[in-house]
């Protein structure tokens, strides 16, 4: 299965190292409301930039994308277009390698989706990106600042929604928002104003006076999302932001994210919902067993089929349901 167009070809890394993700479109002109429909037109400008540095070597995986050396610039980390640059990230737990040399580049003004089967290392990767888990190797740079050597700047530019971590849930929703805002260095008046806006946007107005411990799973997710955004970061790193969120709220959240991106913000999110990723993400990386198997624009990665088809193919294919005939003769 060949890449459908030139922009996804090429892998500059030597044999054996995983392909790194690279896409560096210029900053997107702001257009409100931005719809995914605009994307194909937009990405037609990308190939010319990428062709410059492409090496002749064959890609290790068909969907591999060239490494990020746009324009041959030596100042990779200072590249103004790249908000998040992950290089050769490694994490081992005992003898298992959870994350195996993952490299990603996320340009400003995009929604970057990370998909992968259960246990693929998505959460581990995002935890290392957000400074919550110390990597065994590799670097993470947010807006040019290294997360692990210059955390003050890097973390200020990042809003974080971790998956399966607790919140300070003995606080009310309003208190949690306020707490998050103050910890991020905002002043009280700003936090109050933004708390109100966020509560309206997420439909949490009536819930701000209740303890987060008493929230439903979906509401907890929403208050955590709101807390992640309150300091208006450049980059939002969201682990499973749509899990257990109802469809109406998910549509709301999607719209909020799309407007944020249209204004120049950047979102990295992981999800199990292929439809949703395909619908809202500009760029996507498929991670399996701690490695990036495919990365690039949505069109490149999914090719002719849907993202789900491509994902199932890369993730090892579906098991056929042979030998399950007994399931079709019902017991009483």
């Amino acid at each position: 299965m060949a890449p459908p167009n030139a922009q996804a070809a090429g892998a500059g890394t030597p044999e054996g190292t995983p392909a790194s993700a690279l896409i560096s479109p210029p900053r997107r002109p702001i257009s409100l409301p931005r719809l995914p429909v605009n994307l194909p037109r937009f990405f037609t400008s990308v190939p010319r930039m990428l062709v410059k540095k492409r090496t002749a070597e064959a890609p290790r995986t068909e969907a591999a994308v060239a490494p990020a050396t746009v324009g041959g610039s030596a100042r990779e980390n200072a590249d103004p277009g790249i908000v998040l640059r992950v290089t050769d990230l490694v994490k081992r737990f005992g003898s298992t390698v959870a994350v195996d040399q993952v490299s990603l580049s996320v340009p400003a003004g995009t929604i970057f989706g990370i998909v992968g089967p259960n246990g693929a290392g998505k959460t581990t990767t995002l935890s290392m990106v957000t400074g919550l888990l110390r990597p065994d190797g590799g670097t993470v740079a947010v807006h040019g600042a290294d997360v692990w050597s210059d955390p003050v700047v890097a973390k200020r530019n990042m809003g974080v929604l971790p998956d399966r971590l607790r919140l300070f849930d003995r606080l009310t929703g309003g208190q949690l928002l306020y707490y998050s805002g103050i910890l991020r260095g905002l002043d009280a008046a700003t936090v109050r104003a933004r708390s109100h806006d966020l509560a309206v946007a997420f439909g949490l107005e009536d819930a701000l006076g209740r303890l987060v411990a008493d929230y439903s799973a979906g509401m907890t997710k929403k208050i955590a999302l709101a807390s992640a955004m309150i300091h208006s970061p450049r980059l939002l790193v969201l682990d499973e932001p749509f899990e257990s969120v109802d469809p109406v709220s998910a549509a709301n959240v999607t719209e909020i994210l799309q407007r944020y991106v249209a204004a120049g913000g950047t979102v990295v999110l992981s999800s199990h919902s292929m439809d949703l990723i395909q619908r809202i993400c500009d760029l996507v990386a498929i991670v399996v067993s701690g490695r990036v198997l495919a990365a690039g624009t949505m069109e490149d990665v999914r090719g002719a089929g849907s993202l789900e088809e491509r994902f199932v193919e890369l993730a090892g294919g579906r098991k056929t349901a042979e030998g399950m005939e007994w399931l079709h003769s019902f017991s009483d």
Binding site: L132, L165, R170, Q175, Y178, I182, L183
Partner: protein, 523 residues
Amino acid sequence: MVAQFLGLKLRLLANIFRRSPIQLVGIIIGLVYGLGLAIVAVIGLVGLRFVDTPLAASITVTIGSVVVAAFLLVPLAFGVDDTLDPRAFSLFGVPTTRIAAGLAVAALVGVPALAIAVIAVAQVATWTRNPLATILALLGAVIIVVTCVLGARVSTSIAAFLLATRRAREITGLIALIVIVSLSPLVVALTAVNWQRDGLFVLSGVSDVAAWTPLGAVWSAPAEAASGHVGLALAKFAIAVVFAGALWFAWRALVGWMLVTPQREARTKRYSGLGWFASVPATQTGAIAARSITYWVRDARYHTSLVAIPIAPLIFVVALAVAGVPGSALALIPVPAMSLFLSWAIHNDVSYDHSAIWLHVASNVSGRADRLGRIVPALILGVPLILIGSPISASIYGDPSVLPSMIGVSSSVLLAGLGLSSVISARFPYPAVRPGDSPFAQPQASGTAAGLIQSVAFFAAIILALPALGLAALGLMYGGAWPTLSLLVGVVLGVVFLVLGVTWGGAIFNRRGPELLAFTLRN
């Protein structure tokens, strides 16, 4: 079906031994302890065979009643982790009676059930005095085991089911604490009894009442038979049988109900405004302080500290008073002791947050702000405690000249202890009760490390206050300028240790933020 439940329970027991060595040691200690108690009881019960019937009856009925009550109440108060919750089997479509029976039989496998079975058999040895007594003791042994095991099953399920809401769990935990605390005067009263003279009288009084309750009837029936009171014996045996039967029906009904009822929904309370957050400066330190205060007020785990801080020194004082230490000297103890417990209360504060600490790591909260914010609630309580409590103590002691020493020692203990806790909670966290669990729930994997850290945090705080303590002792002996010196040294050293602790703890927190988070995630 019953065989499958039994197999499952045995499998679960076997899997206990597949955990880490430290846990294994704890489990083995528990096993040895439980079976050791049972063996002591067996020796006692066999020994009672050679004792007069009334005395033997008083002893077996009293102790037996306490044992049965423990089986009924302990799961309720402390919330036992129920691996064989009936609701786990609701989707298998097994008839209710069979689930109830299977789970009841499976409950016979376990250390407490084994221990009570051993004791129940041993009480037969006490009562083989005539044929009827022997028969009633034999049948009674079965009833004892059934009553205890079913009783524990019923109350475990009630704890897991009816007390499942967060608020209910926290409230039962607190009630249990208050009951234990209010029992301590009873214990003191019991120690005040002249046992050599009145012991038998007290014991028979208790057992006479207990023998007619379902708790003691089964223990009393063979005793009555041994004394020749056939009618009383049968009546008491009937009480025991009816109670065991009632427990079975309660269990059967509870299982039936649990299988078709979803979790109870908690009623939620509404709060308005920002609470403490509105009255602190809008800085990292201020926000963390407000959050800490809010948790001290709202979280049951902190409530147990709040209740224990004034109670623990009092129990200590009562014990010393019973031992004959004069009252005036005892007046010097409570304020420094409460200061010590107060500063000790936050030595594992990071673990209490569990993985919510990610917010501090992701927000790059400065370690100093984190440390300072967490000690604010203890200071809010501690400073007034010292300023108000010290003059009261000094006046009870009857010599106002001890006041400076009192303040010096107390502030030294409080401030230095808080500094110490700031370092320890950042560097040596150990597993704590998780947010929302009952304050008495046993944290998973709490090993010997926890005990060691607790003792170090406690005694190191005392050591840091030794200069002030020494000067205060000199003041008590010689008077003069020593108390003033104790005040000065105590306060200055306290502040120095506090600043050092916050700075050092803050640096550790900055360095080890991700490791702290990883630690909380492992538990």
